[in-house]
């Protein structure tokens, strides 16, 4: 117990200095004003929060939420089978599978995202191939659409979903499945009532990682979405670095973090009740 607290001390100290204090500063700044030069004036004001309720910002905020949730759902749908496949492969293959999934993501996402520009633009690889095959007559506009942004996000965050689900599936007791099939459960039933609940922690971790990374990502939106699609993080970044309206940027950050917290809590609760239902089904 004492040793555990001693182990915690450096972590706690670190997080206090480099996480809590900076976040507190942001909260404080969100309630201040700025002067005409863009300097923060420490007098109480709700100006930052009032600006947020402009219809323009609310619209962008809504778009951000929709895109982030969509990215998370699609990532989950495509990554789960992949993680499942890797977790059930022979041990040697598992290692290679993980390495193969991770390596491309050591290349900076800026470069990876530009690769999608090469693929998607009007004279790009995809359009060229489709036209050669005669499937389309004229190039399709793919770049600078919301679909392109969604694709770029999913592409960039697949490993964040695969890795945690893999970890959860890999440590699952596989004998449970044998037991289930001995007792006459179909493959689907065994998956539904054993594998899925056991991988719940992985799904939750992966979903949170992907969701938050998507909400915080502004580069992909810039590159694949063009000027049309803005995300809330584009605005936060420009308020801090370009427009120099720190109070508004901070207010946006605070609202944003709080929304994420609420969404994640709701999601946790939903997952919980699902697991409970699964338990009832098994009983």
């Amino acid at each position: 117990m004492r040793k555990s607290k001693l182990m915690l001390a450096p972590v706690l100290l670190w997080l206090s200095i480099f996480l809590l204090i900076p976040m507190l500063i942001v909260v404080v700044i969100s309630f201040t004003q700025r002067d005409t030069l863009g300097n923060v004036v420490f007098s109480f004001s709700l100006e930052g929060y009032k600006t947020f309720f402009d219809s323009l910002y609310l619209g962008i905020y809504w778009d951000t939420l929709v895109l982030s949730v969509l990215t998370t759902v699609i990532c989950l749908l495509v990554s789960y089978p992949l993680a499942y496949y890797i977790a059930n492969a022979p041990a040697k293959m598992q290692k290679w599978g993980l390495i193969l999934i991770t390596i491309p993501f050591w290349i900076n996402f800026l470069i990876r995202t530009y690769a999608w520009v090469l693929l998607l633009r009007t004279q790009g690889v995809v359009n060229t191939i489709l036209m050669h095959l005669g499937w389309i007559q004229d190039p399709i506009q793919m770049l600078y659409t919301k679909g392109a942004v969604l694709l770029g996000m999913v592409y960039n965050f697949i490993p964040f979903m695969v890795l945690p689900i893999y970890v959860a599936l890999e440590q699952m007791d596989k004998r449970l499945l044998d037991a289930a099939s001995d007792l006459g459960a179909s493959r689907w039933k065994a998956f539904r009532y054993i594998t899925l609940p056991q991988s719940k922690s992985g799904i939750m971790t992966g979903a949170v990682l992907v969701y938050v990374s998507t909400t915080g990502m502004f580069v992909v939106t810039d590159i694949l979405g063009g000027a049309k699609s803005m995300m809330i993080s584009n605005i936060i970044q420009s308020q801090y670095l370009g427009a120099r309206n720190w109070p508004f940027g901070s207010a946006l950050s605070v609202i944003f973090v709080i929304t994420s917290l609420i969404l994640i809590m709701l999601f946790n609760r939903a997952m919980q009740s699902k697991a409970d239902r699964a338990k009832e089904g098994r009983a």
Partner: protein, 223 residues
């Protein structure tokens, strides 16, 4: 006895691998492209690699990125694992609040964390450079390690460790021979995520690099 997985699963995984690797291969192909600006194929060349090797800035940036990624991964992995292990043995109240604290960097988008650290470093008059970047990277990546290792520990149960200490193993021996081997997949995944995140976040690349399409991506602006 091992059950075979469904062939459709294999197909799906194959398609996913293709999906993941096509853009990467495209980048590699274009890195030999004999043109500066357009994305069209203009013939084969090694010029980019030659100028890459000659470019001191790029090489320095590359080494900076690797220094940052490696050192922040090491510290973050140690911190994250320590926290995950320690939190098993503390009171429920402390565990819940520490857990919340450790989840914060995951939940707060890195843009917001980055900017808040920017504000802090400005207030402290800390010069921006490798150290501040490493600090930022440790702060957000230790949580990822913590999350993954905790998931592993939760699934593991404590029977084996209890058995080991019943059989006379010391605390360290139990840790070294029972706990560590069991949680190592979690630690490795966590470290991989931390390393990946660190290289990821080096987006503050100067834009000329992007135009050339390949060229090494891992750039930090170091003053």
């Amino acid at each position: 006895m091992k059950k075979k997985t469904h062939p459709l699963l294999g197909l799906h995984s194959l398609i996913m691998m293709i999906f993941i690797y096509v853009p990467i291969l495209l980048i590699i192909v274009y890195s030999f492209n004999n043109t500066r600006l357009s994305g069209d194929w203009k013939g084969f060349t090694f010029d980019w690699y030659v100028s890459l090797m000659k470019d001191r800035h790029v090489m320095e940036a590359l080494s900076n990125s690797l220094i940052v990624a490696v050192s922040s991964t090491i510290v973050a992995t140690i911190f994250g694992t320590l926290a995950a292990l320690a939190l098993r043995n503390v009171s429920r109240k402390l565990r819940v609040s520490m857990n919340g604290l450790l989840y914060l960097p995951v939940i707060i988008p890195d843009i917001i964390m980055g900017l808040s650290l920017l504000v802090l470093f400005t207030q402290l008059h800390m010069p921006f450079g490798k150290i501040t970047v490493i600090i930022a990277h440790i702060t957000f990546s230790m949580s990822y390690v913590y999350v993954v290792v905790t998931a592993r520990l939760t699934g593991m149960g404590r029977q084996l460790e209890e058995a080991a200490s019943d059989l006379g193993a010391s605390g360290w021996q139990t840790f070294r021979h029972v706990t560590l081997p069991q949680i190592s997949p979690g630690i490795i995944s966590g470290a991989l995520i931390a390393f990946t995140m660190s290289l990821e976040t080096s987006w503050s690349a100067s834009s000329w690099l992007v135009q050339a399409l390949l060229r090494f991506p891992y750039i930090y602006m170091v003053k």
